[in-house]
C-alpha cells in the first residue's frame, strides 16, 4: 500500500482526536476527587470503589453481558441459517424481496421496534424482564448477522458444493464441512457485531425492561436524570476498556483465521 501523504495523516489524526476526545474527557474526570465535571481537583479512585460497592449496579452490568452473549449466540445461529436459506433461493425476485425485508428491519427506527415489542409482549402475556429483553435483542440482531454473513456466502463458488456432491458428501456434510468453515469469518463478524449492538442498545431495551430487570444503558439513563455523578464516568471508563478488549480480541482472532487461509508460500 502507498504511504499516506503528510496532510492525509494530519487529517486522520484530527478526525480521530475529535472522535475520541469526549470519551477521554469523560474518563479523565472519573479520577476527579472534586465530584463534578467542571474542575479537576485531585486524583482519586473512590468513584471506581463506588461502582464495585454497588451490588445492584454490578448485577445490572452482569445481566447486560449475559443478555449480550446469549442474544448474540442465538441470533448468530438463526441468522446464519437464514443467510444460507436466502442464498439458495433460486428465484431472483423472491430472493431480493426477502433481502429487502431483512434490510427494512435494520433501517427501521429502534423506537418503533421497541414499542411494538412492548405491545406484543403485553398482548400475549409475557412478563417484562429477562425473557422479554432477550427475545427482543435476538430479534433485532438477526438481520445484522444475516447482512454480515451474506457476502461470504455470495463469494463462495458454487463449484465447491458441486465438487463435494461429486465426492459423495451428504447434505449435512456439505453444510458442516464446506459451507460453515468457509463462512466462519463472517459468522464471527456477525456474532461480534450482534454482541456490540446488544450491549449498547437503549431504545428497544427501554421499552421491554421491567420488574426490577434493567440493562446498563437504561440504568445510566435514569441515573443521569438526577445529574451525572462521576460513578457513571467510572463505569463508562470500565466499559470502554472492556469494549477495547473485545475489539482487540476480535482483530486477533480475525488475523489468525486469515493466516490459516493464506496459501503456503504466499507472502505479502
Amino acid at each position: 500500500m502507498e504511504k499516506l501523504s503528510k496532510t492525509a495523516r494530519i487529517y486522520l489524526a484530527v478526525v480521530f482526536i475529535i472522535l475520541y476526545a469526549p470519551i477521554f474527557y469523560l474518563i479523565f474526570y472519573s479520577f476527579n476527587s472534586g465530584g463534578t465535571m467542571s474542575s479537576f481537583e485531585g486524583f482519586t479512585l473512590e468513584h471506581y470503589a463506588a461502582v464495585f460497592n454497588d451490588t445492584r449496579l454490578i448485577i445490572i452490568v452482569l445481566n447486560t453481558v449475559i443478555i449480550a452473549l446469549l442474544s448474540a449466540l442465538i441470533s448468530t445461529a438463526i441468522g446464519v441459517l437464514g443467510a444460507i436459506g436466502i442464498v439458495f433461493i433460486r428465484n431472483r425476485k423472491m430472493r431480493n424481496a426477502v433481502l429487502s425485508l431483512n434490510t427494512i428491519l435494520i433501517v427501521s427506527p429502534d423506537v418503533i421496534i421497541g414499542a411494538s415489542f412492548l405491545i406484543l409482549f403485553t398482548m400475549i402475556g409475557i412478563k417484562l424482564g429477562f425473557a422479554s429483553v432477550l427475545i427482543s435483542h435476538i430479534a433485532f440482531s438477526i438481520p445484522i448477522v444475516v447482512i454480515m454473513v451474506l457476502p461470504k456466502l455470495m463469494e463462495m463458488s458454487d463449484s465447491l458444493i458441486d465438487a463435494a456432491t461429486d465426492l459423495g458428501a451428504s447434505k449435512r456434510d456439505i453444510l458442516t464441512r464446506v459451507i460453515l468453515p468457509y463462512i466462519k469469518p463472517g459468522i464471527f463478524a456477525g456474532f461480534f457485531l450482534a454482541l456490540t449492538y446488544s450491549l449498547d442498545d437503549f431504545a428497544v431495551t427501554f421499552f421491554v425492561t421491567g420488574n426490577g430487570f434493567a440493562t446498563l444503558s437504561v440504568e445510566i439513563y435514569s441515573m443521569a436524570r438526577a445529574g451525572i455523578t462521576l460513578t457513571i464516568n467510572a463505569l463508562s471508563a470500565l466499559i470502554f476498556l472492556v469494549t477495547l478488549g473485545l475489539v482487540l480480541g476480535y482483530y486477533f482472532f480475525n488475523n489468525r483465521t486469515r493466516l490459516t487461509i493464506r496459501p503456503p508460500g504466499g507472502g505479502n
Binding site: T36, S38, T55, L118, S132, N211, R225, A226, G227
Partner: protein, 358 residues
C-alpha cells in the same frame, strides 16, 4: 466446524457462570424470607441505605427500579406487564391514574406512621382523604439565580425576570405548565386558569420576555447553573437545591405573587403483587428517623413533621425550601385540567417558543 461448536459452548458456559454469580449476588444483597416487593421510583430519589435497612428489619426483599418521567412510569404500569408494588408519581399523575383505574386503595389503618405527616399535606384536592396516595416529598417552582453574575438584581416578583438588564441571561425549564403558569402568576391569575382571555394575556406577556431568554431546556439546567454559564433559571426547588449543593453562589427565591406547590407521593399500583409488603414499605418510609435520613440524602423537602424535628435546623429553617404556612398560602397545586385544556397549554407554550425564534 469444531471451532464454532467450541466457541458456542464457551459462550454458554460463560453465561451460565455469570448467571450463577448474579443469583449469588442477589441472595447476598437481600435478607430473603419475607417475600419481595418491587419499588418503582425516580432516579436518585431514595437513600439506598434505607432500602437495606428495610430489608433487614422486615425480611422483605426490595427490587428497586427507577423511571425518569411520570409518563414513562404510567405507560409501564398501564401496559400490565409489570408488578410494581410501590411507585412515586407526582400529584397530577395520580389524578390521571385514578381516572384510568390504575391505583389500589391504601388501607390507612396499616399506615400507623401517618400521624408523623404534617396535616397540611394530607387530604389534598388531587386525592381527598388520602384514599390512594401518601405524601413522599414536596417542593415549589421558583427562580434560581447567581448573584455573583448579576448586578444586584433580586427576584421578589416574577416581573423581575422582565428586567431589561437581564438580556440573554434567563433559562426556562422546558415544560408547558411551569412556563405558562409563571406567565399567569405574574399577572396575578391562577396557574390553573382555564379562561382563554387570561391565557392569551399571559402568553402575550411571555412573548415580551423573549429577549431575556437564553435557552429553554430540561435537566441540563442544573449543570449550566453550576458552571455559571447562565445567571437566572426558572426551575423546581429540588433542582435549585442540587445546584446549590455544588455552587454555593446560587440562591433560590419563590416570587411573592405565588407559584406552584408540587408533591410526589407513594402509591400502590393496581397491578401490585405484594400489597401487604407495599403497605409495610410505605409505613417504613414515614418513620421519623427514616424520613429525616432520606430527606438529608435526597435534598428535597419532606412533609414529615416528626422528621423535621430530627433534622438540622439550618436546613429546615431555610424558608426558601421550607416556606412557612403563610408563604405557602400563595402557592397553588396543579389541578388536572383534562386533556383538552392541557392541549391548549401546550399549544400556547409552542406559540411562545416559536415567537422566540423570530
Amino acid at each position: 466446524m469444531k471451532d464454532l461448536i467450541r466457541a458456542s459452548l464457551a459462550i454458554i458456559v460463560i453465561s451460565g457462570v455469570l448467571m450463577y454469580v448474579v443469583s449469588l449476588l442477589e441472595d447476598t444483597s437481600s435478607a430473603g424470607g419475607g417475600g419481595t416487593i418491587n419499588v418503582y421510583n425516580w432516579g436518585e430519589y431514595i437513600d439506598p441505605e434505607l432500602v437495606s435497612q428495610f430489608e433487614e428489619e422486615t425480611g422483605i426483599t426490595v427490587i428497586y427500579e427507577t423511571f425518569d418521567s411520570n409518563e414513562a412510569m404510567m405507560t409501564k404500569i398501564e401496559q400490565d406487564g409489570t408488578t410494581y408494588d410501590v411507585a412515586m408519581p407526582s400529584e397530577y399523575a395520580i389524578e390521571k391514574m385514578k381516572e384510568s383505574d390504575l391505583l389500589h386503595p391504601i388501607d390507612l389503618n396499616k399506615i400507623t406512621n401517618l400521624e408523623n405527616i404534617d396535616p397540611y399535606f394530607l387530604d389534598l384536592p388531587f386525592d381527598p382523604g388520602n384514599e390512594y396516595s401518601i405524601p413522599y416529598f414536596w417542593g415549589t417552582v421558583g427562580i434560581a439565580f447567581n448573584p455573583s453574575l448579576l448586578e444586584g438584581q433580586t427576584f421578589e416578583t416574577w416581573d423581575d425576570l422582565w428586567d431589561p438588564t437581564l438580556e440573554q441571561e434567563v433559562i426556562l425549564v422546558d415544560s408547558a405548565r411551569e412556563v405558562i403558569g409563571m406567565g399567569l402568576n405574574s399577572l396575578g391569575y391562577s396557574l390553573n386558569s382555564t379562561d382563554m382571555g387570561e391565557l392569551r394575556e399571559a402568553t402575550d406577556k411571555l412573548k415580551t420576555l423573549g429577549p431575556n431568554v437564553k435557552a429553554i431546556i430540561g435537566d441540563e439546567i442544573v449543570e449550566m447553573m453550576r458552571r455559571e454559564e447562565a445567571a437566572v433559571a426558572l426551575t423546581w426547588s429540588g433542582q435549585a437545591a442540587d445546584m446549590m449543593w455544588i455552587n454555593e453562589n446560587i440562591d433560590y427565591s419563590v416570587p411573592e405573587e405565588g407559584s406552584n406547590l408540587w408533591f410526589d407521593n407513594m402509591i400502590i399500583p393496581k397491578t401490585a403483587d405484594n400489597v401487604d409488603g407495599a403497605h409495610e414499605f410505605i409505613n417504613f418510609m414515614l418513620d421519623a428517623e427514616v424520613a429525616a435520613q432520606n430527606a438529608d440524602y435526597v435534598g428535597y423537602s419532606t412533609p414529615n413533621q416528626a422528621a423535621l424535628e430530627l433534622m438540622d435546623p439550618e436546613v429546615t429553617g431555610d424558608e426558601r425550601f421550607y416556606p412557612t404556612e403563610e408563604m405557602r398560602e400563595r402557592l397553588e397545586v396543579y389541578e388536572n385540567l383534562g386533556l383538552e385544556m392541557l392541549g391548549v397549554y401546550n399549544e400556547l407554550f409552542l406559540e411562545f417558543k416559536m415567537d422566540m425564534e423570530k
